[in-house]
């Protein structure tokens, strides 16, 4: 198990600077998620950890030792690729055994470890099959077994669930999380799926264009996003945003005035769909669309300020399409961002129009 540290790490591909300056610490035994949109440099960071890419600058430390120059094969890192990258010409047994082939180890111990790793992810019946004869979920487990069999000090998962169907994804999410807790191995999960990140990780590192946007627990990121980017990236269905101009006590957006508390200036207000309610007074509009989501119903409301999403509990629709409604919310649930810098203004509040 290891504590991992990035110190001002830079990565360039030719002239393209993919990661300008990355500094972060991952504690021993921690499960962190690297979350960010496609192309933001998540895989690149992961591959630097694995030793596949050499950092162009800065330092990478395992347990306080600089490992920049240490070769991939000596890092004792287990990795599950997005494509699983199983060796197609080998049986599952040989795939799982492969990492042990390069360690001097007695034959019985090797086979014992393979069986234990296979048991851990429940693929013991599949040991004699080839990867092409496995389902996506089974391949994923085998890849996990192969990553775990050498008892790595660091486990890297590159979007391991993206090829699975929704139910299987749910199961594997739980399984990977409990496995990680059981083994206590430091784990980095790369994903662009915020639900995956929030459900599995102890801590989320949100990245954008090679930079860290915010680090925090899933709850931090959800309740106190430091920037508009995080606020819109985390949460499903996505947050509603209203841009306006704040002056003494009022924020004007279009023709609507919201009670405002805070310093004047151009602001953007973020309102979570599940924190909006249909009330007697507030922002008026008309229900344009209704999306039943099982235990909840998502209403898309056409207001003067554009479409707003409102999430209501209950599986029976209380409102019909075309019905006029007014939307209310508590000022404490509003998130106010500075429009220019997109940073959160922690002291500002916005209430529903009277």
């Amino acid at each position: 198990m290891a504590k991992v540290e990035f110190r001002h790490v830079v990565k360039r591909f030719g002239d393209v600077e993919v990661i300008p300056d990355l500094s972060l610490t991952i504690e021993d035994g921690e499960f962190v998620a690297l979350l960010g949109p496609s192309g933001c440099g998540k895989s690149t960071s992961l591959f630097m950890l694995a030793g596949i890419y050499l950092p162009s600058g800065g330092e990478l430390l395992f347990d306080g030792c600089i490992v920049n120059e240490v070769e991939a094969k000596d890092r004792n890192v287990g990795i599950v690729f997005q494509s699983y990258a199983l060796y197609p010409h080998m049986t599952v047994r040989d795939n799982v055994l492969f990492p042990l082939r390069f360690k001097r180890m007695p034959r019985e111990e090797v086979l014992g470890r393979v069986i234990r790793a296979a048991n851990l992810v429940q693929v013991e019946e599949l040991l004699d099959r080839r990867p092409s004869e496995l389902s996506g979920g089974q391949q994923q487990r085998v890849a996990l077994a192969r990553a775990l069999v050498k008892e790595p000090q660091l486990l890297l998962l590159d979007e391991p669930l993206s090829n699975l169907d929704a139910t299987l994804r749910l199961t594997m999410r739980t399984e990977i999380k409990s496995l990680q807790k059981k083994l206590g191995v430091t784990t980095v999960l790369v994903t662009h799926d915020q639900i995956e990140a929030t459900t599995m990780a102890d801590r989320i590192i949100c990245m954008r264009a090679g930079r860290i946007e915010q680090i925090g627990t899933p709850d931090d990121l959800y309740r106190r996003p430091e920037s508009l980017f995080i606020a819109s990236f985390i949460g499903s269905p996505p947050i509603n945003t209203i841009s306006g101009e704040a002056r003494d006590g009022v924020m004007c957006a279009g023709a609507v005035g919201f009670p405002f508390e805070g310093a004047p200036g151009a602001v953007t207000v973020g309102l979570r769909p599940e924190l909006l309610r249909f009330t007697g007074s507030g922002l008026s509009g008309r229900i344009a669309q209704m999306e039943p989501m099982g235990r909840e119903i998502l209403y898309v409301v056409d207001t003067d300020l554009g479409y707003l999403r409102v999430l209501e509990h209950g599986s029976v629709a209380a409102h019909a399409v075309g019905e006029p409604v007014s939307i209310g919310f508590s000022p404490d649930d509003s998130l106010v961002f500075d429009t220019a810098s997109e940073r959160l203004i922690t002291t500002a509040r916005v209430g529903p129009p009277a």
Partner: protein, 366 residues
Amino acid sequence: MVAPGVFGDLPSGPAAAVDWDRMASRARSLRRGKAAALYAFLIAVSLPIILPYFWLVTIAFSAKTGVADTLVLWRSMAVFAPAVIAFWLVAMLAQNRRQLWLGITAIALIAMLAFALLVGPDLHLRNFIFLVEPDFASIVRSRVGEVRGAIQFPSVWRAFGNSILIAGAQTVIVLTVASLAAYYLSRFQFPGRAAMLRSLLVLHAFPVLTLIVPMFLMLYWIGLLDTLFGVILVLVAFELPFAIFIMKGFFDAVPWDIEMSALTDGASRRQAFVWVVLPQVRNGLLAIAVFTFIRGWEEYIFVFTFLIRNTNWTMSLYMYYVRDDVMGVNYGVVSAVGVFYLVPSLILYLAAQRYLMQISIGGVKG
């Protein structure tokens, strides 16, 4: 859902009654006609392709010294041609695999029986005398009473060994160099990579024969003229560009991530290459191996130019000189040498064809 009237006013109702039976029977006869035409074509094409080989074998086992006997050939053909036609007819008419195999077995049995009756009495092994008697030319000639001027032949096994050596060594070198070079070209960026790829193709475009004089001079000056090693080097040089190009296509198709995975699993770059990447391009290696070996096995013009001593003769040279020396006397011996020369490449193809069939050159790109 389609709104009414989108397709205009279609005729509807029972007014447009269709004679399905007539249409079905027309389609059926059309299909039969096409199948018949196809099989007629196959018969017409396959006969002249297979016949020479068939004759070669028949002559090798039946021709006698000094006798220009074509009667046996006609008789063998009377067995062979109907057999081929019957084969295609069975292929056309068989409803399933079982019928097909039954039909083919029946045809084969009948054909073999007819062959044994019509041609069998003429068959003998005397034309294969060259396998045991290096000086067979004198013996063959003495049967017709003119011994003078016979060429001194080396043992055919010597020529056979030389050919195996040339083809085998060439194959091993080409496989090794081509897979390493192609891997490097596929995986690494370096200055001049694009130019190198382009020149690989251009190199292969030259007719190799044009270089025969400079090659002769080069070998002469290096001191490799009239050595097997010299010929092997020349052949390797001419075979490599295309082999590299083909192999690069195969390596390009191997995903990066299994290689990266091998590296993080503790393999060195070389181990990852051997354990993980090479098995993925096995079919490519096999194709290159078979074609390179065959190419070396049938090589004629370079060995003819660069090898002089008769102990350095390859099978192609042996064949050439046999033809030169005893053709007029006994074409049975020439055919027998031909059969002997043919057998190894035939065996190789049969052994490898299962893999060769899986190869598509579609994976190749620049």
